[in-house]
């Protein structure tokens, strides 16, 4: 993802805020909208959000860093999230995690050098009877064997 000219970022952020004018406590919906549109929350958006919402920059920064969902750097073209919670542990989540890190050559929270895949861990996807579970760009996969994981990663790369 190429970085956008500052003017354009500012316009986009301000128009996202404008569309959430009537929401109470709008910062989270706004941050989700920014993530959806731009893939991450560019640190340059922080002063704009602070200005628009009458908050301090530290407040906005504090919220962005509190939640796992909001990232400040662009993600890979695909985001693969592996469930590492108990119900999936019981059916082989650990092997799946090892397989993913070794196949992709990266750790959790990292992006492959070619920018194809970001690997994340997640704690429960609500698919605990049909695990182990993996989510790729919001799409859920269940009963994921190591072989199936390979094909999921390949398709998504």
């Amino acid at each position: 993802m190429t970085s956008l000219p500052t003017q354009s970022l500012e316009d986009r952020v301000r128009s996202i805020v404008a569309s959430h004018r009537d929401d109470r406590g709008a910062l989270l919906p706004i941050l989700h909208a920014v993530m959806e549109e731009m893939g991450h929350v560019d640190p340059a958006a922080i002063p704009i959000l602070a200005d628009e919402l009458n908050l301090s920059r530290a407040d906005v920064y504090g919220v962005i860093t509190f939640y796992h969902d909001f990232r400040q750097t662009p993600p890979g073209r695909r985001t693969v999230r592996i469930c590492r919670a108990e119900a999936c542990q019981a059916v082989g989540a650990a092997e799946l995690a090892d397989r993913a890190t070794s196949r992709l050559g990266i750790g959790f929270g990292e992006t492959t050098a070619d920018g194809a895949v970001t690997l994340e861990q997640v704690f429960c996807l609500g698919n605990c009877a049909t695990g182990p579970s993996v989510q790729v760009d919001g799409r859920l996969y269940g009963r994921v064997s190591p072989e199936r994981l390979d094909s999921i990663i390949e398709v998504s790369a």
Partner: protein, 518 residues
């Protein structure tokens, strides 16, 4: 009506668990292979998740089930006459007659898997709105009384009586009050909230409208975790339909009630399931837990009186109003009234939703319904109630699922999740994970939780490595006591539960010599 005009009705779930194992591809394949006019309904899941994708075909004798159906099975199934309900090794018979389902008491989940989740007509045809209509014909006080008399307790974990909470909000003086639905469902091993939201969203909407009427609230929020994109989309679509039909907005069903409802999406933080953290998050802030008092019922969202209830709590309300408090209160044991929607997950042969009256034993759930492990190895441990719940050995399978009986056994029912592990599990590893999870997900407000959990991981590592074992076991015990007593909320306060139960029931895994309780 199924075959009226020569159109066959086929059901293929849209539930995300079913989709995760190929339901979309199966639906596409059926459409492509059928060779006759079809009406494909994307229903919720019946909850027999080991049979997903479960396909049902409407026949003159009822809905016939086939499963688990892989996309590549479809050609053969259609050729064998599946669309007329014909025999096949994957044929399971009439869905309603499958004993696993038939032996349940579906109250909250009565419509899930049966109806098209987004069809307002289906909803009304299957008894939807009866509860709200009755509630609106009663005074708010009478509705609160009905909920109190039903014995309904919060399904989110703590089991607090819903009627008392509603009464407190009802009696609080404020122009503005809120109803907030906690749909953060962060506990590993739980998925009932998700399945209700995806499979019968109007029930939740109706329950919230009833709560609004009872409490005098005009605005509501459903706080859904971001890990549930399908549930979020389904809820948003259902809310829009509900507005179109006058079930939300000004003068709901031509009554005095005005109620606006919004979906809000979490940020991937487990602690935001704790109600005050959720309220902070809804206000657009970091999800830092608030000290209580004040209780949310008096000073909740933006400081206003607020009903906070779990999805299943609010989802049980329409049935209670429709059928009367007594029908619900007649089910259950002791002070655990009604049904609970248990969720069987992990290493289990027949995982899914078992809705049944409180009082069923843990062993019945795991063995009779669950059929033991998926791996075929012996069951060794079961974690009940999410990541903060106890690990129990099979020797405790006699425990009845009941809030008080579980509390007496140093365990908790929580949100009803039951996660099964076979004999390859390393319980010291599970105890370590509990501490690790707490360290990662702590909101950071209090030291026993934030620092204690990090120390807990280190101490367990030392015990397992055999370093000063006796001394370190004592350190761990003291640390657990400190977390239990000194934490502001149950995140730090209950993390010792999985740790201590693992130690108590599976001491051998921690390197000690005897292993009792197996």
């Amino acid at each position: 009506m199924s075959t009226s005009g020569g159109v066959t009705t086929v059901y293929v779930p849209r539930d995300s668990a079913a989709r995760s194992v190929g339901a979309d591809e199966v639906a596409d394949a059926i459409g492509a292979e059928a060779g006759r006019p079809l009406r494909v309904v994307r229903n919720g899941s019946r909850g027999m998740l080991w049979l997903e994708p479960l396909v049902e075909v409407e026949t003159p004798s009822g809905r016939i089930a086939y499963g688990p159906v892989a996309p590549e099975d479809v050609g053969e199934l259609v050729a064998a006459g599946m669309l007329d309900g014909a025999d096949h090794p994957l044929r399971l018979g009439l869905t309603e007659d499958i004993d696993w389902l038939r032996d349940q008491t579906r109250v909250t989940f009565a419509r899930v898997g049966v109806v098209d989740p987004l069809s307002a007509e289906d909803y009304v045809a299957h008894g939807g709105l009866a509860g709200l209509r009755r509630a609106l014909s009663l005074s708010p006080e009478q509705v609160v009384t009905e909920i109190t008399e039903s014995g309904l307790r919060g399904r989110g974990g703590a089991g607090f009586p819903a009627g008392i909470k509603w009464k407190t909000v009802r009696e609080a003086k404020s122009e503005l009050k809120f109803v907030c639905c906690n749909a953060d469902e962060g506990d590993s091993g739980t998925f009932a909230d998700r399945m209700l939201m995806e499979g019968d969203p109007f029930t939740l909407i109706e329950g919230m409208a009833i709560a609004a009427w009872a409490a005098g609230a005009s605005e509501g929020y459903i706080y859904v975790r971001s890990e549930y994109p399908d549930a979020i989309a389904t809820l948003r679509a259902a809310i829009s339909t509900a507005y179109d039909h006058g079930w939300l907005g000004k003068r709901v069903l031509d009554s005095e009630l005005s109620f606006d409802l919004f979906v809000r999406v979490g940020g991937g933080a487990y602690i935001c399931g704790e109600e005050t953290s959720m309220l902070e998050s809804l206000e657009g802030k970091r999800g830092m837990v608030r000290a209580k008092p004040p209780i949310p019922a008096l000073e909740g969202l933006f400081g206003k009186p607020t009903v906070v209830n779990n999805v299943l709590t609010l989802g049980s309300v329409p049935m209670i109003l429709a059928d009367g408090a007594a029908a619900f209160a007649d089910l259950g044991v002791g002070r655990s009234r009604g049904t609970q929607v248990f969720q069987l997950g992990g290493n289990i042969a027949r995982g899914g939703i078992v809705e049944t009256a409180f009082g069923i034993t843990l062993g019945d759930l795991v063995e009779r319904y669950g059929g033991g492990t998926r791996s075929g190895r012996p069951v060794r441990a079961v974690q009940v109630g999410g990541p903060l719940g106890a690990y129990l050995p099979t020797s405790r399978f006699d425990l009845p699922m009941d809030y008080e009986a579980f509390a007496a056994a140093d365990a908790m029912v929580g949100h009803g999740g039951v996660v099964v592990f076979d004999d390859t599990v390393d319980m010291a590893g599970q105890a370590r994970f509990a501490m690790e999870f707490c360290a990662a997900e702590s909101c950071g407000k209090c030291t026993p939780c934030r620092v204690g959990a990090v120390r807990g991981v280190e101490v367990i590592d030392r015990i397992v490595a055999g370093v000063d074992r006796k001394k370190n076991l004592k350190v761990l015990d003291d640390l657990c006591d400190l977390m239990t007593e000194g934490s502001l909320c149950a995140m730090g306060g209950l993390t010792p539960m999985p740790v201590k139960s693992a130690l108590a029931h599976f001491p051998g895994d921690f390197g000690t010599t005897t292993e009792e309780g197996r």
